[in-house]
């Protein structure tokens, strides 16, 4: 069973704050993804990566940076957080050659 672990589970910050969301997968999957989930919008892709050092822009990248430091670790950075970034964030991974995504349990971010 693929394991994707996100931290923290919950995070509260203020407008203009600096936030890093972490994701680790332990199955050596090549692909990793960051999504945000909002009522009325479903899941939207922020950034994704094919492997360590690789970054690809998703559909809603504004205000977000990402970094893939290793095969296992994928980080989402909000350098100047805004209330519009209050959301539930999911990380997911996928092995090459397969279409199935494996999701973490999510990080709920509140920007006051």
């Amino acid at each position: 069973e693929a394991a994707v672990t996100q931290s923290p589970r919950n995070k509260v910050t203020v407008t203009g704050g600096n936030v890093t969301l972490s994701c680790r997968q332990t199955n050596s999957h090549n692909y990793m993804y960051w999504y945000r989930q909002d009522t009325g919008h479903g899941l939207r892709l922020i950034h994704y990566s094919y492997g360590a050092g690789n970054l690809q822009i998703g559909d809603v990248p504004d205000g977000y940076k990402a970094t893939r430091t290793t095969q296992e670790d994928f980080f989402l950075l909000l350098e100047l957080a805004s209330p519009s970034q209050t959301s539930l964030y999911f990380c997911a991974s996928r092995p090459q050659g397969a279409e199935t995504l494996y999701f973490g349990s999510g990080t709920r971010l509140t920007v006051l």
Binding site: Y31, G42, L43, E99, T100, L101, F103, G106
Partner: protein, 115 residues
């Protein structure tokens, strides 16, 4: 443009009743279609997937889905629901050619199973 529509935001059924959750898709190429489920306070989990072949695909926990190219649909069904099936169900379309894995999510259908 590729898209996924789940016309029912919320469905309520009684325990033991049959279920159908509707999904319509639009795709310029061969669609890869999925149903994912999200239980409260958890991430999404794969229920089933369709790539090709038999249009009726079986998934976990007694779920199945039927692909229809003529109707551009991929409806999810279950013969008899249990209270533990209460969750949000997402119909998902694979948009990437080759293996980018970019997925297009429907907005989800919240299923409430009443005792």
């Amino acid at each position: 443009a590729q898209s996924v529509t789940q016309p029912d935001a919320r469905v309520t059924v009684s325990e033991g009743a049959s279920l159908q959750l509707r999904c319509k898709y639009s795709s310029s190429g061969t669609p890869y279609l999925f149903w994912y489920v999200q239980y409260p306070r958890q991430g999404l989990q794969l229920l089933l997937k369709y790539y090709s072949g038999d249009p009726v695909v079986q998934g976990v926990n007694g779920f199945e889905a039927e692909f229809s190219k003529s109707n551009s649909s991929f409806h999810l069904r279950k013969a008899s629901v249990h209270w533990s099936d209460s969750a949000v169900y997402f119909c998902v379309l694979s948009a990437g050619a080759g293996n980018t894995g970019k997925l297009i999510f429907g907005l989800g259908t919240t299923l409430q199973v009443q005792p």
